[in-house]
Amino acid sequence: MAREPLIDQKFLEKLERLTIYWQKSFPGLVGGHNASRFAGPGQEFLDHRHFHQGDDLRAVNWRAYMRLDKLFLKMFQVEPRIPVRVLLDTSKSMSTGAVTKFEYARKLAAALCYVGLVRLDTICIQPFRETLGDSFQCSGGRHRFVPAVNFLTNLEATGHTSYLQVARQFVSSYPQRGLVVVISDFLDNEDAEKPLQYLAEFGHELLLIHLWAPEDREPPWDGELELIDAETGSHMEMDLDSGARARYTTAFDAYARRLQVMAQRNGGRYVGFPTAMPLEDAIFGSIIRAGGLQ
């Protein structure tokens, strides 16, 4: 039985006009889509210089040699890319809800990946839960989108999240600064704010995409319940009423607000929406409004 595609073709066509946007200048790299003035491997010619022993013979300007009987080396304009890293939460908490956050997050990650590939950005999809999982890096155009979709399709939501561990590992694994898009419900038993702050302080630009299932924010249940944590399996017995639910929603909103403040304070952006929102509305509405895409 053929698996349903993550994103249909019509939606992909709509995505082609978008660009992943970041606002920070990263040291050593020229951001955005501007060409670099640094010489190096590339397509565009930059300058000539004298040939020195050990230089690549393939870059010798043989026509100039024939005319001038001197060896000149052609230099090209380097095309550095700001690395865009999509940190995708694959913990068990992402699998709760009638339509799981994980499914929604995969589609969103696929959409961002496609936008990046169209603009020849280098996209790294980095799943995480307790630690970082195996990553997938793609670049070079839209024809690389299918392997990215396959990678996303094979992911599973299990285990529990540890943002602190993930942040430490991320910083040590990716010393080069770049844009970090975090797609998660940010539901860690410990606080997720400090590890994210740590990433920002290290020099990464954060784009936090906060997903929640409708019942994550507004529990629909009433009466006697035994609540089980999807990640840890811990239990809590409760007698739910409207007051308790209202207090819960308030606490949830306060947490989302703290995440937003933390992101904006560090030059990043925050966008949060429920999985009940259509993906198209989320991308062309919330994310563009937040400045994640242009």
């Binding site: 994103i7 006697e224 319940l225 035994e226 809590m236 409760m238 949830f252 259509p278």
Partner: protein
């Protein structure tokens, strides 16, 4: 409407208890709906409402009502609630089918048991279908063939498969059993029905008193003309071991005198015949003699044609009589010949010591003042062994000394008390541990027995070389020695033909329970009781039972049928014959419907209020307006 298994009070008590339990469990129920959530952190961080220890009110009354209703329906099903009145409900009958040996008697229309089966089937077919019947086969034991069963096919199969037994009817026991079944297991007592001729043993307690309620008899017309063997006894003549003495007891159960020819065959050859005149209701006895040492089958037959053929013929297995072979190595065999010839079972061979061999098949060897190069096999009687080669050290040689002590408490010294023996010359032995001193002089033992490795008796003197050979003690001493050495050869065999059931065996004086074994044909020990000098055991099936005492073996071939001599007269209050066909009672079993409804109620309650239902509903509610479906 009535309860079959429970009274109204019992039902109410059970229902009350179950309802109270359900309500209590409902109120105390702490099992909550389980809900998996992404995180508990916001529940922990916010102030939560107090968790109630108990439910203060019934939150889902319909669920509780459904549960209670279902329990009530299931309890009613267990109580076997029925529509109708108790008087119209089925009754439980016990049908005692006489399967005693007498029911094998032939009539013009088959056997008595065939008539009994037909009457039993008629009775069952006349009963309403709601009545239950237990079929009990009765002979010496009352054996239930079915439980209280309403399935007529099962009952008829049990009747059809009944066969005549080997024992006489024990009606007292069968009636007591039926009364107990009616008392303990019947929901509504029906009739105790006896089908048979009522022929019982004279010792049957039913002849004295029959106090059974609801008693019904289906009488079978009895046959009366029959003669049969009652007992057969065989034993070897004491004087002549080759001669068998046969005792017969024959009874005329009929009402007219008969002349009955009797024939005895051994190994197919006629060995005796006689004609007995049997008065009605009387026993006659006859004695036969025939000679054989061989083993074989003795057939005793009444050469008549009467109602019961099974008691006209008996076959008994006779054991062979093997002689006790004794080799005597002596230069003076004439001294020992009279002693050994006195015992008819002994077959002695007299040989010169120079012809000594160890490979002969003698079971006992007598060595007369002779030391063989190698000891023979089997028992050894050693007379005056040479001092150098004596198996027992010779302490001294004495002359003209009297025997002062006999070991009378041992079987070797049984009956030996004489003090008149004066030994002209004798060796006195030095006994070893385990040796038995049979006779002693002042200086020590002169006759010594050694039980192992093979039995050996050593005499320090020759009993035939003095005046002792004219003494009665000498053959008695040798008889004791030979019996001690080979007790099997001296075992007395008695064979009896009798009937299965309780057998009483007369015993000799001095035989205790420790010396008795009662062994069935499959070599298992049967339990027995002893009262004074008689032993009693019970064998429910035909077969051979051996009663073994010290030197006596009695073989009981219990193949003759046990036939009752008396005819039981049923009480005047007993109903007779097959009842007239009763119209079908208008009682309906409701329990299957009640059980179905109860189960259905529980299922509905689970579907409506169960946890799964909640989850499904919740999932459906959340899935409404799912944006992702539209997006993808």
């Amino acid at each position: 409407m009535f309860f079959l298994n429970l009274s109204m009070m019992e039902f109410m008590a059970l229902f009350g208890a179950a309802s109270a339990l359900v309500v209590t469990l409902y109120l105390l129920n702490r099992s909550r709906r389980k809900q998996t959530v992404a995180t508990l952190r916001f529940w922990v961080s916010t102030e939560q409402p107090t968790v109630q220890k108990h439910r203060r009110k019934i939150q889902q009354p319909l669920s509780l009502i459904l549960q209670l209703l279902s329990i009530a329906l299931l309890l009613l099903a267990i109580a076997q609630l029925r529509l109708g009145s108790r008087e119209k409900s089925g009754r439980d009958h016990v049908l005692i089918l006489d399967t005693s040996s007498w029911t094998a008697a032939r009539t013009r229309t088959g056997t008595l048991l065939d008539q009994g089966k037909a009457a039993a089937r008629s009775f069952i077919r006349a009963l309403p279908s709601s009545d239950r019947v237990m079929v009990v086969r009765a002979d010496g034991l009352a054996t239930p063939a079915t439980g209280l069963e309403s399935n007529r096919q099962v009952l008829e199969a049990a009747i059809r498969e009944s066969r005549p037994g080997a024992a006489a009817l024990n009606l007292e026991q069968a009636l007591a059993f039926a009364a107990q079944v009616e008392k303990l297991h019947a929901s509504r007592a029906g009739d105790i029905v006896y089908v048979g001729t009522g022929r019982v043993l004279e010792s049957d307690g039913a002849l004295q008193a029959t106090a059974v309620n609801n008693f019904r008899i289906l009488p079978i017309k009895d046959v009366v003309e029959n003669c049969g063997l009652r007992k057969i006894g065989l034993r070897r003549s004491i004087a002549d071991p080759g001669l068998w003495e046969v005792f017969l007891s024959v009874r005329n159960y009929g009402t007219v005198a008969r002349n009955v020819p009797i024939g005895l065959q051994f190994g197919g050859a006629l060995v005796g015949s006689r004609r007995l005149h049997l008065a009605p209701g009387k026993d006659e006895e006859a004695t036969f003699h025939f000679r054989t040492r061989a083993a074989g089958w003795l057939e005793v037959r009444l050469l008549i044609d009467d109602a019961l053929a099974e008691d006209n013929r008996a076959i008994l297995e006779l054991p062979s009589q093997k002689p006790l072979k004794v080799d005597v190595y002596s230069d003076e065999p004439e001294l020992l010949r009279p002693v050994l010839a006195a015992n008819a079972l002994v077959e002695a061979d007299y040989l010169s010591p120079s012809k000594f061999k160890t490979d002969r098949d003698a079971r006992i060897t007598i060595l007369d003042r002779f030391h063989p190069p190698q000891l023979p096999k089997g028992g050894i009687i050693w007379i005056a062994p040479p001092a150098q080669g004596s198996p027992v050290p010779v302490r001294a040689t004495v002359t003209n000394v009297p025997v002062v002590r006999w070991r009378s408490d041992h079987e070797l010294g049984t009956g030996l008390r004489t003090k008149q023996w004066k030994l002209e010359s004798s060796e006195v032995f030095a006994p070893a541990a385990g040796d038995i001193s049979v006779a002693e002089v002042e200086g020590g033992p002169v006759i010594l027995a050694r039980p192992s490795p093979s039995r050996m008796v050593v005499l320090g003197f020759h009993p035939g070389k003095s005046a002792m050979r004219f003494d009665l003690t000498t053959p008695l001493l040798f008889a004791n020695i030979l019996r001690w050495m080979d007790p099997e050869a001296f075992r007395r065999w008695e064979v009896y033909g009798g009937t299965a059931g309780t057998v009483t065996v007369p015993l000799e004086s001095g035989v205790g329970p420790e010396n008795v074994k009662v062994i069935s044909s499959n070599q298992q020990n049967l339990p027995f009781t002893m009262h004074g000098q008689s032993l009693r055991f019970f064998s429910g099936t035909p077969g051979t039972v051996r009663v073994v005492t010290a030197d006596r073996e009695q073989v009981y071939s219990l193949t003759l049928p046990e036939v009752g001599e008396a005819v039981w007269q049923p009480p005047a209050s007993a109903k007779r014959g097959v009842p007239s066909r009763v119209t079908e009672a208008s009682v309906r079993d409701l329990w299957p419907f009640l059980a179905l409804l109860g189960g259905l109620g529980l299922l509905i309650e689970w579907l409506l209020f169960g946890r799964t239902r909640f989850h499904v509903a919740g999932a459906e509610r959340l899935a409404d307006g799912n944006p992702l479906r539209r997006a993808s």
